[in-house]
Amino acid sequence: MASLITCPHCGTRPKEEFTIRGDAAPRRPGSADRDEAWYAYVYIRDNPKGRILEYWHHAGGCRRWLVVDRDNLTHEVFGVVDAADFQRTEAAE
């Protein structure tokens, strides 16, 4: 029926404006990385219950990809950041 996501650009919006892509943890390997790394990146996903980082796309809003930190059991949301910022932060670490 409804739930809400707070887009860092648009504010609190209903979930119908978003599409979900899934786990945001896997990183795209480099082109020279081993086959196993690519295989894992393309095909293998954990299916965790609980707190997870997920890609959400604000398709009906600013069209930015977001990383939502939430509990997929209770839908408690701990934070939402723009995916580009998330990537930059990860790259810096």
Partner: protein, 985 residues
Amino acid sequence: MTSYRLDAGGAINRAQALSFSFDGRNYKGLQGDTLASALLANDQMLMGRSFKYHRPRGPVTAGSSEPNALLTIGSGARSEPNARATTVELYQGLVAASQNRWPSLKHDIGAVNSLLSPFLGAGFYYKTFMWPAAFWEKLYEPLIRKAAGLGKLALEADPDRYEKAWAHCDLLVIGAGPAGLMAALVAGRAGLRVILADEGFRPGGSLLSESVSVAGLAAVDYAGGLVSELSSLPNVTLMPRTTVFGWYDDMVFGAVERVQKHVASPSPELPVERLWRIVAKRAILASGAEERPLVFGGNDKPGVMTATAARTYLNRYGVAVGGKVAVFTNGGSGYRTAADLAAKGVEVTAVIDARAQSADVAPAGIRVIRNAGVVATNGRHRIDGLLLERAGFEEVIGCDALAMSGGWSPIVHLMCQRGTKPVWSEESQAFLAPNVGNSFVAAGSAAGVETISECLRDGAAKAASLASELGFAAHGANLPDVEGEYDASFAPVWYVPGAKDKAFVDFQNDVAVSDLGAAQREGFRHIEHTKRYTTVGMATDQGKLGNVNTAGIVAAMRGVSPAEIGTTTFRPFYTPVSFGALAGAAQGEHGAPVRTSPLHGWAKKNGASFVEAGLWYRSAWFARDGEKNWRESVDREVLSVRANAGLCDVSTLGKIEIFGAGAAEFLDRIYCNGFLKLPVGKARYGLMLREDGIVFDDGTTSRLGEHHYVMTTTTAYATDVMTHMEFCAQTFWPELDVRFVSVSDQWAQMSLAGPKARIIMSRVVQDDLSDAAFPFLAARAVTLRGGLKARLFRISFSGELAYELAVPAGYGEAVADAIMEAGRDEGICAYGVEALNVLRIEKGFITHNELDGRTTADDVGLGRMMAMQKPDFIGKRLSTRFGLTAADRLQLVGLKPVEPEKQINAGAHLLKEAAKPSLANDQGFVSSACYSPALGSFIALAMLKSGRERVGERIVVWDALRGMEVPADVCAPVFVDAENAKLHV
């Protein structure tokens, strides 16, 4: 006269009589009545037939938990089945009809099911109708469905409007009884934005039906005072006739407001129902408590109802439910009902108390029978007496109504909808609301509080506490004195032993205690299994009356506490919600929007037949006089393009405008072929892969400026490609300076193809279009004669000399008209996607028929496009893995039937000659097929195992669906102008 309207009293307007009809007979009620109270005032206790056994039934409640008094309201397209007469607000001209009876409510043939009841108990579906299996679908099921059922849906389209809306508040109060009203008042006075929603048409809850005085006023008048103060507060929104039906994530509540369900002819200016999503910082559940029925033999007959219901009809509606009323109780509520009835001059024949002793006192002169139980009721369409048993002795008591009270269950449904179960309390002998955090709390009798004064206090306290959490200074209200309250405590009686008739737990689904016993004996012991085996709690009332009794009875049968049995899962909706409300405005074209191209009008006036492609309507062919079928039109269009010229609408292609210093690099990474060296003013065909190495989509991208590109995608993948590009740009390479925007709807785009294309286009475009000045794959801004700026691309999907012209969408039709005019002498025609498809199959160009999510670039003959020298592109790494490069993969080939007139169909499979059809012998499949007027033959594109090395081989096209086997020769996938001579002219 058994039930009747009293001469005075009640929250009804005696000056305003309302006419209505029930089963074709006319009645009069009063403003303020529900349909049920008006029928009772007219001595109409029989209101329905039960689901399975067709037993006569009357109302058992005066509210939204009603399982029996389900009627069809309205007529024609506006008729609504299964409406609860106990909540339907009476209006002038209301038309009501009973359900599940034939030929009439009083004489119902289906009642013969009652005689069959030994065979219709729990699990009867599984046991009785097992053999022979073939009889089930054809005979048993239709018969059972005909005999068992409720109201019938109107088959006409709903003429009414519905809408959806959002609301936001600091505090949502659910229920406008004493706790809810006081909570809203305290919060409203403190300045919170408050929404007070109540399912009824008049706020007040139990204050409307209890005979107490509050602050020296009748309770109903005190409620009126609270409501008028709330109405005066600008920060408080009162929402009567609004059922909050669901609690969702992030404190979003779903509610349905019945805006015009209480008028005979709804105004078209307003919706009849409005679906609300209410976002609340805090919420208070003040939904009250449900009085439990007692479970005894014959407890379902018309005239048996809860004590609260009898009291509500009496005090709120001024209706005596009987002339001689008996009371059967295990607590104070029964005594209060007896007292209220006696005070209004209604005869109370006996108060039967299941308890051996209690402090409750009946009014003077009324016989109290303690330690006794009712074991049967007499009468058919209405009870005319009851049989009680006390210490082994039976006694018949005359009565025409029986008020029963089995104790109380807080209404905690909403709080349990998100996975938290209610908690059994030994002390209260009830399931109480679970703790779901500080944002959503129960107040009043929903929180297990019993008296009106306690409810008022609890509502005020909870609201003050939530207000201060939100930073508001809340002052407790001055709580009024309440006089004449009663002690509502009770001693649980789950089941009255010695029943001489069926003792019902779930009235609406006709589930009796014996069914619960059968479920336990037969191993369906978990409460969720018991529920499904017996269907207890699965009716439209979702077991509001029966579920707690079920838990208690099953617990007693197994000798454990109800805590151990627990409850079944609570889910939205609290009460049924109409599909109209859920659909809202999304009906008809608003439900499935139609996308029309900017050239739709042009296509229409040129005689197009349209085909749905997703939401799009695309012009499929343009029939001319004398053409007998679509093939004749398509053949003509194809030949006309090959001989002269044709104009086709390609506006539905996805179009993405790309800017930025990093745009070239970005394109180079998302396409498998190279884009860095694409010169300004040129278009290039591009192939996108998925990360797994499979082809994703194709299209052309043109460089309009140093840092400016425009891309086209296929119609079907326009959204997916855009989303994919955004994901790549934002998550993989945020450092790239690239921006893009979809402009699919901003441009009208048309393809002019054929040997005469240049002559015609030159009449419309100012610029020099000679082959030297505007060669194959040229792409740049041009000016139309008349001055309009446009974009011209020399690209071809037909193999002919062709141009795609893009103009701002609003100019599309005028420009297409101008081209048709300019080409008239050259033999131009309009052509549609069918001819487009034939033209591209003849040239061996691929679409998503070939790019079906399984093919690699090499499979479709585009392997050499892959720029493997690039450091990276999407799909590069996995495109070379084992399996995607195997020699026996399916490869794109052409097929020509040995006999040209033999049709080949897409989807047919390929076999070696003389091979038996089997998975092992499968050689591939036909991906696209058509009749080629240029060749005078059917032709096809196919994906064939190791296809490229099998050119010249004869194979069999096997089409089991149509029963066809066609021998065909494998050829290269290009049938017309293999040298591309026609492109470069």
